[in-house]
């Protein structure tokens, strides 16, 4: 019980950062762009591998 109380007191003293609306919008814009970029890169690697190797992509030494 005492331990929980001391943690709550400690959290009260923590210096926290709160985002403004502009900062939230900017963060969302960056997150969406990064998500799209990563998805496109995965797609590019997938399609590129098929284009480069063709049916050979299935041939693997066992």
């Amino acid at each position: 019980m005492d331990w929980h109380m001391s943690m709550a007191d400690a959290n009260k003293d923590l210096e926290t950062i709160s985002q403004s609306d502009k900062q939230k919008k900017a963060q969302r814009s960056r997150s969406v762009a990064l998500g799209i970029a990563l998805a496109l890169f995965v797609l590019l690697v997938y399609i590129g591998t098929w284009a480069k190797l063709g049916a050979n992509v299935l041939i693997r030494p066992m």
Partner: protein, 314 residues
């Protein structure tokens, strides 16, 4: 998790980033990138042989991202200069939207990804050429030449001239004389293009202490050198037709554009007053863009038409 930046004023307080995705796109210099993509694509298309269209798209994408990475790294290093010049003071770093550290990491990550992807999916020669182009633009031009010699854009222009060669190499796996000619066209076009620009932005460059030709050698000398370079680039621009990898339409158009380019440079050199020189420098700058775009556009259309005729059996 919020992206926290150090305060630009050197204070210990941190601030949350307000950079939007569009600010990161601005770091890639999209307008420069569009010219790079276009010339790179023409190099790839004109090259002999057949290339898988998916791999061709990947090659162009890598060239575009590599060019964007160079632009970002250029803005990282030149943030102090950009803050002084009117033309560049609204770029993301001097505007205080993105920190230099973020831009450095952004540029380096894109550089590595573009080179590795091009090497793995297309061929390592074009990957190596792209890596060299990024290195040349960032280290040789931005860090070394730009602030130390009025010949900065003469040598540094090589970085902008590599994309068609990379496109050619992506398609053929080798560097040939034809790709060297495409390289030379852009390389020799760069000095008159940028010196014309610097003639009407002299004060901006002087304020940023960049030794551009008009600041160091004077406007008269710059105008003469512009004329000399146009006299060289005009015949080189016709070489693709002479060497046989462009058709007669290109031959006619490149000759006409070359003569017009020389005529513009001649008029600038013979300008009777400072006001007339300013006006003619602006005209030459505009025409230089038309010249390069025209050459590569005709090369592109003519090659496409030839391929289409071959395909339908005419």
């Amino acid at each position: 998790m919020a992206l926290v930046e150090q305060n630009r004023n050197g204070e210990n307080a941190a601030r949350l980033s307000e950079a939007r995705a569009s600010d990161y796109i601005a770091l890639l210099k999209p307008r420069v990138m569009s010219l790079v993509v276009f010339t790179g694509f023409v190099g790839l298309l004109v090259a002999p042989g057949h290339m898988n269209p998916v791999l061709a798209v990947i090659a162009i994408l890598c060239i575009a991202v590599g060019a964007g990475a160079s632009g970002a790294l250029n803005m990282w290093y030149d943030a102090d200069i950009d803050a002084v010049m009117k033309r560049t003071r609204n770029r993301p770093i001097p505007a205080g939207v993105v920190s230099r550290e973020e831009v450095l990491v952004f540029g380096l990550v894109l550089s590595v990804f573009s080179v590795m992807t091009l090497g793995l999916f297309v061929n390592w020669l074009s990957g190596a050429l792209l890596a060299f182009t990024i290195f040349f633009y960032v280290v040789i031009y931005t860090m070394w030449l730009k602030r130390s010699t009025p010949q900065n854009i003469v040598i540094g222009g090589a970085a902008g001239a590599f994309p068609p060669m990379i496109g050619w190499t992506a398609a053929t796996g080798m560097v040939s004389w034809e790709s060297v000619v495409l390289f030379l066209i852009i390389f020799l076009w760069t000095p008159p293009h940028f010196w014309a620009l610097s003639l009407f932005t002299t004060n901006d460059y002087a304020a940023a202490r960049i030794p551009m030709m008009p600041n160091v050698r004077g406007e008269a000398s710059t105008r003469l050198q512009i004329l000399v370079y146009t006299l060289i680039v005009a015949p080189v621009g016709v070489l693709p037709w002479v060497m046989g990898f462009a058709g007669p339409v290109y031959g006619v158009v490149s000759t006409a554009l070359g003569l017009a380019f020389v005529a513009h440079a001649w008029q600038l050199w013979r300008a009777p007053s400072a006001e007339a020189a300013l006006k003619r420098a602006k005209a030459l700058f505009g025409f230089s863009l038309l010249y390069l775009f025209g050459l590569f556009a005709v090369l592109f259309c003519e090659t496409l038409a030839q391929r289409a005729w071959t395909w339908i059996g005419i």
